[in-house]
């Protein structure tokens, strides 16, 4: 019954699309600008717009996705327990979904059940693989919650300093600059430590970004600014635990993670305290919080693989207002400001005959997946493999216009300091300084056009 309906809908779709080849809908490129994720695009403008599986998955893949979806929502509790056992003993939150609300961006607070911000920690220098140096007794991430009877590693305090600035036309805006401090350290740290706050990012489209050929990303790099436009960009190369090899970093705010699999396994291990095949050792191992239970790995491989598949097959919401003249003028300004040099509109995924949904797709993520110097204002001053203390991976912008609806009121940037897209733009510096200045000198009506374009993504 259901299959017949699918076939029917597909038939209608083909019929309609074939009668509908108008220039207004399909630009000269032959690609519909609304299809941000190629065939992996969905038309959904509700608060669950980031939670759709790829259209057209096989029956088997739909089951695996649904299994991963269910696991993504599962709330872990203290071991031993009959259901979802193994939380912590130290952790940041108790399920995937409690940080990635609606598969979207999180809330920039730390230490309570709604919090979606975590803080990485390290000592200066690099480890044997060129990565950050773990802090004895803490590792590379602070777990600021603990199960009953155990002590969190630290309390993370976030303080904002508000400052009012003006655009060239005199209109004012406010930026809140955060400072992060630690109190209640469970054990002393000797020497200086470096902190980097990271907000839970949106989950959709990751399978497509993973499928962009490394060569395509590297070709966009300009580490020595050979073209003299002030914009560099370089790939981050990182140690990938899953493959035990050096790989191109694609995910995370500093592109410090090579694959969705490693990202998922690391998040289970570090954020929730759930061990797996890839990270079989508890984050509390060797610390006073360790529960000593011989229950590792806690996560079945089938679950890990299903959640990886889930994260790889969340569809990209379609653009709206692509034929709106205001949005088009905003897009022209976005390009004139050179925003699009880093926020690359179009990438093409590699051919993958075993997985048509991500194979050879023209996608519009608005990122080059490279790290760029973003200036001192955004700097965490904590290097992460090749990404320096001022460098961040170009954030993808697809779905940006839906953040307010999916994760009301919506926060932006790596630590959620920006409360609006305008604030996020005005935080740009470093290689993006001139683009920001361009925006700040626009008239109010032109700034509104840029925002209208960004809101259409």
């Amino acid at each position: 019954m259901k299959k017949l309906t699918v076939v029917g809908v597909l038939a209608i779709l083909v019929l309609v699309l074939s009668q509908c080849q108008k220039a207004a809908t399909f630009p000269d490129t032959g690609y519909d600008a609304r299809l941000s994720g190629g065939v992996a695009t969905v038309f959904d403008i509700t608060s669950h717009a980031f939670s759709n599986m790829f259209p057209g998955l096989s029956d088997r893949d739909q089951i695996v996705h649904a299994f991963g979806d269910a696991a993504f929502s599962k709330i872990f509790v203290t071991a031993p327990a009959p259901v979802n056992s193994g939380l912590g003993t130290i952790f940041n939150n108790n399920s995937c979904i409690s940080c990635h609300h609606n598969d979207g961006i999180g809330l920039p607070t730390a230490g309570d059940s709604r919090s979606s911000l975590l803080v990485r920690i390290s000592l200066p220098g690099t480890d044997a693989h060129g990565g950050p140096v773990a802090v004895p007794g803490y590792g590379l991430q602070l777990q600021d919650k603990a199960v009953y009877g155990k002590v969190p590693e630290a309390k993370i305090n976030i303080n904002y300093t508000n400052t009012t600035y003006s655009f060239a036309d005199g209109e004012t805006y406010e930026l809140r600059a955060p400072t992060y401090t630690l109190t209640n350290l469970y054990t002393a740290i000797t020497g200086n430590y470096l902190l980097s706050p990271r907000l839970a990012p949106p989950m959709f489209g990751l399978g497509l970004l993973e499928a962009v050929p490394e060569s395509e990303i590297v070709a966009m790099a300009d580490p020595n600014d050979a073209d003299g436009d002030g914009i560099k960009g370089k790939p981050n190369y990182v140690w990938d635990v899953a493959t035990q090899s050096r790989q191109l970093g694609r995910f995370g705010w500093k592109a410090n993670t090579a694959s969705i699999l490693t990202q998922v396994a690391a998040a289970y291990n570090q954020d929730i305290g759930i061990t797996s095949r890839i990270f079989p050792v508890e984050s509390s191992f060797g610390q006073t919080q360790d529960d000593g239970l011989k229950d590792d790995p806690e996560l079945p491989d089938s679950t890990l693989n299903a959640v990886r598949f889930y994260a790889a097959t969340l569809a990209v919401p379609a653009r709206r207002s692509v034929t709106d003249p205001d949005a088009q003028r905003g897009e022209a300004l976005f390009k004139a400001a050179k925003c699009a040099v880093c926020h690359r509109q179009t990438l093409t995924t590699a051919v993958n005959v075993s997985f048509p949904s991500i194979s050879n797709q023209v996608i519009h993520p608005y990122t080059d997946m490279l790290v760029h110097d973003m200036g001192t204002g955004l700097a965490d001053n904590r290097p992460d493999f090749l990404a320096g203390g001022q460098e961040w991976r170009t954030a993808s912008l697809w779905g940006l216009g839906l953040f307010e609806k999916v994760n009301s009121p919506g926060y932006y940037l790596h630590d959620g300091r920006a409360r609006s897209v305008t604030e996020a733009i005005m935080w740009h510096g470093g290689e993006a300084e001139s683009a920001k200045v361009y925006f700040s000198k626009l008239s109010k009506s032109d700034r509104t056009l840029v925002l209208k374009f960004l809101g259409s993504l």
Partner: protein
């Protein structure tokens, strides 16, 4: 979360819409759609949220009495008050959008499973159970299921005399915490407080969240569909497939089937704009009936089939997953049928008929 059909049909509809936009006149906007939204807010959403809070206050009174006078009658009264609070809560999950998800009221009150290891350890400790102590806990140690654990006990076997002094303190503070959350949820929509109601009713007329009225209709239909999926493919499927009653949502109170039924009732409440015996002057159903009477009948028929199927599960859900498996499976199938109609047909109706 959603299925392929929804996505496919949206693509098809969008294609249709963009294709025909130049050849057919835009449908005339009527105020009927605005009335449907206003009536949903006034007749369903606000009263349902108010009922949760009202019943939580009654639960608190019953718990207080149980604590001061622990006897069988007072325990039963507290258990019934818990179930009565559960009812409007489960039905409001038929429209799970807005502050209930934005502010995490849902996981705060209704996280599952209970972190029994932690709760038992806390009960065995000498911690002082103030309300702020409970407020600071994760949802898995408090809320509906924390209270359920204390007043029903494992297997629902609790006796009034079993409630320990420490459990009484935990119960009192947990109930106060629950009341506060239900009040915050109610206030978030209240026109004189958080007024999310206005965010909904001003859809297409300045609402920050709903740029068009269609956005609200899509949210309503999406939520109706989502709760079908939640009940049919998760809450029922997990214990059914694993043949494991520890995976049941409300296993202490044996209230799972009632919970599921109230979830599904929330769908009809939204669709027909009905709550607590009152019906709005206009609803999604009246809109559909005016233009596609057979779709309206189909939705109602399929809804009734789900309720009728639930009625065939006569054992507790904890038992039914072992000895009434056919009935459980048939109910899941009926829910899937309803969900498919909502995803495909009702979404198509909204796409085609709600234009502003």
């Amino acid at each position: 979360m959603k299925n392929t059909l929804l996505a496919l049909s949206s693509v098809a509809l969008l294609a249709l819409a963009s294709c025909s936009s130049k050849s057919t006149p835009t449908p005339v906007t009527t105020d009927a759609e605005g009335t449907v939204i206003t009536e949903f807010v006034n007749v369903v959403a606000n009263p349902d949220y108010a009922a949760i809070n009202d019943n939580a206050v009654k639960l608190q009174a019953a718990v207080t009495l149980l604590i001061s006078t622990p006897n069988a009658a007072n325990l039963l009264a507290a258990q019934n008050a818990w179930k009565a609070t559960r009812e409007p809560w489960e039905s409001c999950e038929g429209f799970l959008f807005g502050p209930v998800e934005d502010n995490d009221y849902d996981p705060t009150m209704d996280s599952w499973p209970l972190n029994k290891t932690d709760v038992d350890a806390r009960l065995a400790s000498s911690d002082v159970f103030t309300t702020s102590y409970i407020d600071g806990l994760d949802g898995t140690a408090k809320g509906f299921h924390g209270i359920e654990y204390i007043i029903f006990g494992e297997g629902g076997a609790k006796k009034a005399t079993d409630v320990t002094a420490r459990e009484k303190l935990y119960l009192a503070a947990s109930t106060t915490s629950l009341v506060a959350t239900t009040q915050a949820l109610r206030d978030s929509w209240d026109a004189s407080k958080g007024n999310y109601s206005a965010t909904v009713t001003t859809a297409g007329k300045g609402s920050a969240v709903y740029k068009t009225r269609k956005d609200v209709f899509k949210a309503m239909v999406g939520a109706m569909s989502d709760i079908c999926g939640e009940v049919g493919t998760s809450k029922m499927e997990d214990p059914y497939a694993a043949r494991d009653s520890t995976l049941d949502e409300s296993s202490f109170s044996h209230n799972s089937t009632v919970d599921f039924t109230n979830n599904i009732k929330g769908i009809l409440n939204v669709y027909t704009c009905t709550y607590g015996g009152k019906t709005g002057s206009a609803s999604l159903s009246t809109l559909v009936a005016a233009k596609n009477a057979s779709l309206d009948a189909k939705i109602k028929t399929q809804y009734n089939a789900v309720l009728a199927s639930f009625a065939t599960i006569t054992h507790t859900f904890e038992k039914a997953i072992y000895d009434q498996r056919a009935q459980v499976k048939a109910t899941q199938d009926a829910i899937a049928t309803l969900q498919s109609t909502l995803d495909v047909d009702l979404n198509a109706f909204v796409e085609a008929n709600i234009k502003d």
